[in-house]
Amino acid sequence: MSGLVDVRGLSVATQHGAVILDGVDLELADGTVTGLVGPSGAGKTTLAHALLGHLGPGLRRTAGTVRVAGLDPFTLDGRRALRGRVTGYVPQDPASALNPRHRVLTQLDAADRIAHPGADRRDRARRVAEAARAASLDEHLLRRHPGRLSGGQAQRALLARTLLTEPRLIVLDEPTSGLDPATAHAVGSAFADLPWRPAVLLVSHDLSVITRMADRTFTVAAGRIAPAPKATAPPAVVRAPVCRPDHGQASMLSVTGLTVRRGEARILDDLSLAIAQGEMVAVRGDSGSGKTTLARALAGLAPPAAGQLRLHGRPVGWDASARARTGGPFLAYVGQDARAALNPHEPVHRTLGRARASAARNGRSCGWGPEEVLDRFGLDPAHLERRPDQLSGGQRHRVALARAITAAPAVLLCDESTASLDPATEERVLEALDRYRRERGTPVLLITHRDRVASRADRALTLSEGTLR
């Protein structure tokens, strides 16, 4: 058995001495898929980054060694030899990882040029098409810029880019969080069955993906690693009763004729939606069906071509900052890319403080004190001093949610906000959202791929071909 990756006694700590990883041993062999699970903030991403020779700001290695294909990624030469050739990495927050200025195809071509310099143009096109197919990425999406991809599509574009370089080690950090179950399944099987038999390290909260893909699974908790008990089958799915929006009922939010065009294509086509006071509605749909477009249009971040929005029967404009200037309602959007949603220069306490101040300025209050908000979202007061890049992916998502709630919005729009959380934390966050909408009567729109999340909602709608049904 050849140990491609050999981690021995790796310890990582912050500048202030807080231990992130504590004597971790990990061996990855060619052709094996290793799953890594554990609560949000346990150090999973730090361990994955260590294989690439990267540590987050303020972190340092206090003990231990990392060897990938016999090289030390913590040295400049080792990292240079490994990066892009031996190691492939798919990060969380896919939208931040693609170059927004280049079409997906250009970026895939560039990746192939690194792996196969001087290759024939026809071979290159064939390899790009194969990689796109393996990552379930439709061919017409290749012509798009990353800004015009949905979260799940961007994730698959990254996967395709990683496949092109045929790396011997593939590190996947939450690779399927933005994918619907069918696509996640297809992508998962593609990775478990790659012809050049790479070692795959899979960080995920999605137990169904882990059980399907991983040969063995480890749990990271409080900086220590241990073999995970045989994962139990995912709990039986309770489907929420699906019903059509009831226009007769006095609805708090109502949308009619919502149409969003992109060039010739209609992303949303004459869509109608009504949500009652305090109602929680789940919206599902295939990756790329326009769920995010819907939420961003409602939030006023991407005004649509046509349509009318009413809150409490009063018409509301489509532009968020115009709403804010004219004393209109605030519809909070919590998106898939929490890294982009948080100001990188700002510690958490200021982020939340600003949200509280803007609520107070408009005479609103979320009804929960600062400590209560933190507690409800499972955040530690110690996180208050940190900036976004010192938080884990799941913590960033929860800060973004906490900020939205603290600002006391009229409507809360959650776009896969819990996709990168472990089941226990996800449960806690959903509980907080549930409680909030019951206490305050704030309608919540939950965009999700997961049955478990959708089952928390009062009703579930499916978005397909531009309309909700």
Binding site: A324, A340, R350
Partner: protein, 272 residues
């Protein structure tokens, strides 16, 4: 501050000290002849004499202050205008007003810098302040452009848009969402502009703008004494070197200050 930064800062500090404190250190009169033209260096006159037989060292010490002060004033003025106009045009919801402002800035940028300087100097001859204002006017449009582009990028970020959607006041958004991201850009741009302003101030001196003929000025020294460069090169070379040293080391310094420093991996290893 690392040792390397200190080393890089030395030339800047040295040139600025010579320029600002020079007039107090000057050994004798900078405008009275002490010998014949272009005499070689001697013990009492270490840099020799210039075209009119004046002490070149005294003129060097006296001639930097006005130039540096002009450049500094022009840079600060230009930055103030650039930050004010650029940030406002980038963040305002009155799109048309913002666009109109940018177009008028473009028109100003299209004016040839030297022509404008000459025009202003003819209107108010012999005034150093007018030269500084002129330099500020010709360099401000570039500042506005750079700051506007940086602001527009930051205004488009998710977090800035969320803050706008929450209805936060303009000044709070500028302070929290725009300023931290804009600071490196604005700093680097001001550094470049200071270097350009020094060159322009020297050019103004070279052309005889600002305070009249007998007054010393590094730019004017280069012009006056270039005829005698074969007999005594020092009155030309030394002010030129001082100007170049200031420009180069300042740009390097500003780059170091404005590029976010990351913890180098080698340093991580040493810690381990």
């Amino acid at each position: 501050m690392t040792r390397r930064t200190v080393v890089l800062a030395l030339p800047v500090v040295a040139v600025l000290t010579i320029a600002l404190a020079g007039p107090w250190l000057a050994p004798g009169g900078a405008t009275t002849p002490v010998g014949s033209s272009f005499e070689a260096p001697t013990d009492s006159y270490p840099m020799g004499t210039d075209v009119l037989g004046r002490d070149a060292l005294a003129r060097l010490l006296v001639g930097g202050r006005v130039l540096v002060l002009q450049a500094l004033a022009a840079t600060l003025l230009g930055s103030a205008v650039g930050l004010g106009a650029g940030v406002w045009a980038g963040i305002t919801h009155r799109r048309r007003l913002g666009l109109a402002l940018m177009r008028s800035v473009d028109a100003l940028a299209a004016l040839p810098a030297l022509l404008l300087l000459l025009l202003l100097a003819t209107g108010a001859p012999g005034d150093d302040v007018v030269v500084a204002v002129g330099i500020a006017i010709v360099s401000a449009p570039f500042s506005v452009r750079v700051v506007h582009a940086g602001t527009a990028r930051l205004v488009g970020t998710e977090y800035a848009r969320h803050a706008a959607a929450r209805g936060e006041p303009l000044l709070a958004r500028v302070r929290r969402d725009i300023a931290p991201g804009l600071a490196p850009v604005a700093l680097a741009e001001a550094g470049i502009r200071f270097v350009a302003a020094t060159q322009l101030a020297a050019t103004a001196g070279f052309l005889g703008l600002g305070a009249g003929a007998p007054t010393a000025n590094w730019g004017r020294m280069v012009r006056e004494n270039s005829v005698g460069v074969t007999m005594n090169a020092l009155p030309v070379v030394v002010p030129a070197i001082l100007l170049v040293a200031l420009a180069v080391s300042l740009t390097v310094l500003v780059d170091r200050a404005s590029v976010p420093t990351r913890l180098a991996p080698e340093r991580i290893d040493r810690a381990a």
